[in-house]
Symmetry: C2
Subunit: 187 residues, 2 copies
């Protein structure tokens, strides 16, 4: 059983035969640190699974780098807007450590969802889980202070704080590096 296998099973178990065929639709890459999985102006047409390492999604907004998402070992990673709207975007996806990454192409995923009811169910549950996460994140951005958001990250993903440069974490939390620095010096 690979890690991807486990991750999928946790969301929605597949029958033996569907699972084999579904897993075969995934590619895998071993990539060094600072490698770009998706470069500027490309369409993001894979959902990635981080077997080992860290992926960072970011893009430029008014000349500033915005870190949209950071995905650690054992989690999925995609730019929702670029992937589903199928548009070339200013988005980029980069490794922050030497990593082992798996990925499934948009066409393969939707194709298999059409062929296998089970895969469609899995797909739906992944979307639902993302939606719930997205709602929590929105609530956090809207109502929590920078301090509270940092505290929560410290509690839920302490690993991430140790492995990712401060600037990226700040951007991911929706604050400036200066503010994060002040928070860490507790005030």
């Amino acid at each position: 059983m690979t890690d991807l296998d486990i991750a999928i099973n946790n969301i929605s178990p597949l029958s033996e035969e569907t699972r084999g065929e579904f897993l075969r639709a995934w590619s895998s890459w071993s990539v060094p640190r600072d490698h770009f999985m998706v470069s500027e102006n490309a369409v993001c047409d894979h959902i990635y699974f981080v077997k080992k390492g860290i992926l960072r999604i970011f893009y430029f907004k008014n000349g500033k780098e915005i870190t949209e998402w950071i995905a650690m070992d054992g989690t999925f990673c995609l730019s929702i807007l670029s992937f589903f709207e199928r548009t070339p975007s200013r988005l980029q996806i980069q490794t922050l450590e030497a990593s082992e990454i798996m990925g499934i192409h948009y066409d393969d995923l939707t194709g298999m969802a059409a062929r296998f009811h089970e895969v469609e169910t899995l797909f739906r549950k992944m979307m639902t889980a993302s939606l719930i996460l997205s709602q929590y994140r929105m609530d956090s951005i809207q109502f929590e202070t920078a301090q509270q958001r940092y505290d929560r990250l410290l509690e839920t993903q302490p690993e991430l704080l140790r492995r990712v440069p401060l600037t990226y974490i700040a951007s991911f939390l929706g604050i400036t590096p200066e503010t994060l620095s002040r928070i860490r010096a507790h005030r």
Copy 2:
């Protein structure tokens, strides 16, 4: 063809026979103004469709009323967290006008998604669309000013501004009524 029929068809068309059975799973209600579809401490276990009128989702946060969503004619309406996590919440859903509302129960929706691949696909596409919307809203809250958010609403949903009291709109936009008032007086 009812409005619900059209709305569903726009997301993901169903075959003749599946459609009939799926539509039969929906209930419908005619309710007066200020009627509560979901009261405090109840689990939200329907996805609603607003055939005519307006629904408002809100809850209390630190003693203050937060308007989470406003759904106008022809759109769907649910509290994502309460519906999918199946927990009693402080959420409430209220009509702002005399309305005709349809709704499908969580159990019926998931049941039919399990029986009909087509319904599962529809369900998945609804989730994806919600996710995209949620991402846009998050981006708006994080990076746009109150003025920009108001301008966008004015452009995309002018109807809503005419039919919904200012206080609710302010809360929906994530600002105080005072700030909205100042924006409208353009500064």
